[in-house]
Symmetry: D2
Subunit: 306 residues, 4 copies
């Protein structure tokens, strides 16, 4: 490697370097350092506090996982709340669902939203202009605590839990209780869970799963490799309904729902019934870790990615 | 990052750096540069020509994928040929199968085998001492062409196809024809296929799959994330029998076979019936690429990882 | 280090990384890859083929060394030829000398000149607008060979001699013979000589000095640390006059000439009589290497920085 | 760069990477992290808290500067105190002076001394065995405060002043007062002063010079490029005698003293009368900074390299 690169420290002892050709934005906002760079291996990328959040080449994998399984497993999702989500790709995917009438997105960092609108047009693809979308600049936790509005779906599209960052309180038991109280009957919440590979799942993935299961009657988790994250990434759906069972929806059921609710299946690049039918199958080592996990993340006992 | 690290160039525009505490071996053999280093994130690692081949922390994922699906899907595997395999972990996994009577491993690089025996005891775990094992220092291609021995299983445990390296001719149509001629009736071959993630599968994975399918009546492929490889990795099983169908073996069938042929299922850390039942489900984007692939790798038309 | 950086490979086994905040230009011209980046440690920098040529924070050291000793040691320099010099800082320094009436700068790479005019205003500081300046886009060697114009001073402001680059023929005995033929009586040539530190002087510095001494009756060399080059840098003045002796000009003589020919001494930041009086004193190890050097760089026997 | 390297962070925004072939030692002692590595560009190196202290290829430059000018400018140096100096190269140079009868070296880190004895034989070259040498493991400051012994020469061979490190109090006015009280009449102290290049001299170099000048009647400073330090390095001699004038000793005077007191001048690789006669000449920008400096480093007002 030589020339201009972006170095991301994945941990104290592991970093990755991507060739870049342009730095569009590099500034510390009120909450975090925001970089938008044009990389050679991943296209245009957003990085917060030095960590890659979204790459042009593979963000579709993350966002299709975050949005479609939960929306398709709900009988009729009309209202969606997004905690975080500043770059707009989660909005873009949600708006593909014809049933959705209202999306409230609460992101704490106005500068991040503005930078995304300006530089990440590939990512949001105009979603911010849709009349169903309502963007609020606030702390998601404070907003949910002070609101009386209820939602069918809550999507946690947050930075990983890292010490001294805005999202650190949004992976706790108390926050999940707040979310549960803001869900309509039959509603469900999804959160990204951080790294979930065979060597990284016990950082926070299994603990978030367990914390959710102390609040919700049913929690189901899976993981998907995101190349630009250099790991597999965890997702957990927590439902207010103990009969909820997204993991066992059949391939044909998913494909039919995509056809009915979204329309042209080519709208999605990664997700369909076939991949759905395999993605909840986890390797032994991770199933074992999920079973043995007993950490509960609370405001007094936070858990961070090292 | 600071202090001693190992930098691996994954491509011209993407590299990874791992903290290290010791360099056990660093020397160019007759065929390749061999490094054995103690890394902080991955434990002890073997690297050939700068590319990580095997890490103490996650090599089990690669080797369980390479060995158990093919051996369990064969009715009674007694004889196994390994092309490459110098570090000894493939041997270690094969020897867990009670049915196996003879393993012939042909690796071109004696220095690599010797370095592995000396420094990678965790990896081979004494497998080289087993009387069923026969290690031959030779070019796998030349040996197979000149041999009359036939095998139930052929395992290609090779470095990726890279220009001007010993393994470059071992991913070609002609080599696969040689292999087919050295398989017993009902026999099957497995090869690692290189990177197979959503952004990397069209480097060589889909082309190797397609090349195999010009020689064998049945080819089935999957991928698995290997954290230390910073990508998902492809595997393809090619069978001489067109009714062969490893992809549709049921979870309970696999678990029963593990019990009968290996014994204690705790011998395996990653693989069992549950993960088997999901692992052949590929995302849309990769299924589409497999269908559309039409490159055939021949000696006159080699294909390399860029 | 994390975030955006520029990595420069100084050699196969030594590289430096500078934090950057902006990439102004990154493109391969007809002759070389041109980068202009805003770095944190060095300010705005020009890099050619990945090698730093000029940094906002310390280019004054290089350019004051390249221009003032030779011009002040000439009795009355009116005409100056620059080989290379695209960024314009050498022009800027030359134009400080009231005696100079005409400067011909021949640079091979128009894109480099244009990029410098656009992004390196700090460096050229408007020098390109001076009516005494004549910029010609051509190969300096070809232009000198085909010209009949003679100069008082020739300044070689070139990239280092590296294999397969435009400047590789501009450090040869033949080229120096061409230059000598284009100097007026009493004229002198200066070239930058590449790295000249205690561990790097025998790459090319001593050989360039020796090659010059096969053509010119008097050659005097020195070195100066340039922080952004991460080494000391060599300079050699070759004179057509064997009584020429820049190395032994006194401190007061230099200061008086600066006053007479340039005016306000504060125009210069690094150079004056005091530093001049010490800068030709070299450490033993380098004096010994200069004495023992016997390599002559010819077109048939080029010498490159490894 | 690829393969094993050592990364040194020179500052927050500048790092250097050297290829390595071996890690001999990597451990945190009671005081600091100690690395001994075999590098390709610099040979065997000692690094403390990640910063290169001494490289096999160029340590002679640092140590000849640290030892010979001060010893040769003293009329008859018999006793020498070294603060720090664990690697043993300073000892090695001092012992070349026939007049020296006793050297007391006080280093705080026994593990650093032991590691140096074991792995840096090239550096100390057996100096630890000389009967004139007395090694004491202690804090140099505490030892000098509690001792009544006086010395002709005090040599500060310390790590740079960095926050929260053992050497942070050894660059203060108070410490220099302690040293002065432990010098015999006519005695002198030398300290390395940290980076002293055209872009780095105002970090600590000029402030150490100024702090010394508040304690001693005469302080003279110079700088020398040390390639493996990727900068020029400062040295200051402070004398108890206001008529002391090392900077103006003539070339022939130095050469004669080398001959008388050391013997064969080939014992030294970098230093002799010629280089001495130029090395105190500083560029304008640094002379100006020395004149304008008014920071005094005290225990209440420490100064660190950023």
């Amino acid at each position: 490697m030589e020339g201009p690169v972006f170095i991301e420290n994945i941990s104290n002892s592991f970093s990755v370097s991507s060739g870049i050709t342009q730095v569009y934005h590099t500034r510390r906002s009120k909450f975090q350092t925001i970089h938008v760079v044009e990389t050679i291996p991943w296209g245009r990328c957003l990085l917060l506090d030095g960590h890659l959040q979204s790459s042009e080449r593979d963000e579709f994998v993350y966002h299709e996982n975050l949005v479609h399984p939960i929306l398709l497993s709900h009988p009729n999702p009309k209202t969606v709340f997004i905690g975080g989500g500043g770059e707009g790709s989660t909005l873009r995917e949600i708006l593909k669902h014809k049933s959705v009438e209202r999306v409230v997105m609460v992101d704490i960092d106005e500068e991040c939203v503005d930078v995304s609108k300006k530089f990440l047009t590939h990512h949001h693809n105009g979603a911010y202009e849709d009349p169903r979308v309502h963007v609020i600049i606030d702390d998601a936790k404070a907003w949910l605590e002070n609101s009386e509005e209820k939602f069918d779906i809550i999507i946690q599209d947050l930075c990983d839990p890292v010490d001294d960052t805005p999202s650190q309180l949004l992976y706790t038991q108390k926050y999940y209780q707040t979310c549960k109280a803001r869900l309509n009957p039959g509603g469900a919440l999804i959160t990204q869970d951080g790294p979930a590979g065979v060597t990284s799942h016990n950082m926070v993935f299994t603990a978030i799963h367990h914390t959710l299961s102390t609040v919700f009657p049913k929690v189901q988790s899976w993981k998907t490799a995101i190349p630009s994250y250099v790991d597999e990434w965890g997702f957990s759906i927590a439902s207010t309904d103990d009969k909820y069972d997204v993991a066992n929806m059949s391939s044909s059921q998913i494909d039919q729902l995509i056809s009915e609710r979204i329309g042209n299946p080519d709208t999605l690049k990664w997700y369909d019934g076939e991949i759905h039918s395999g993605m909840f199958k986890l390797p032994k080592v991770i199933r074992k870790a999920l079973q043995e996990e007993n950490r509960v993340i609370t405001e007094d006992n936070l858990l961070f990615i090292p």
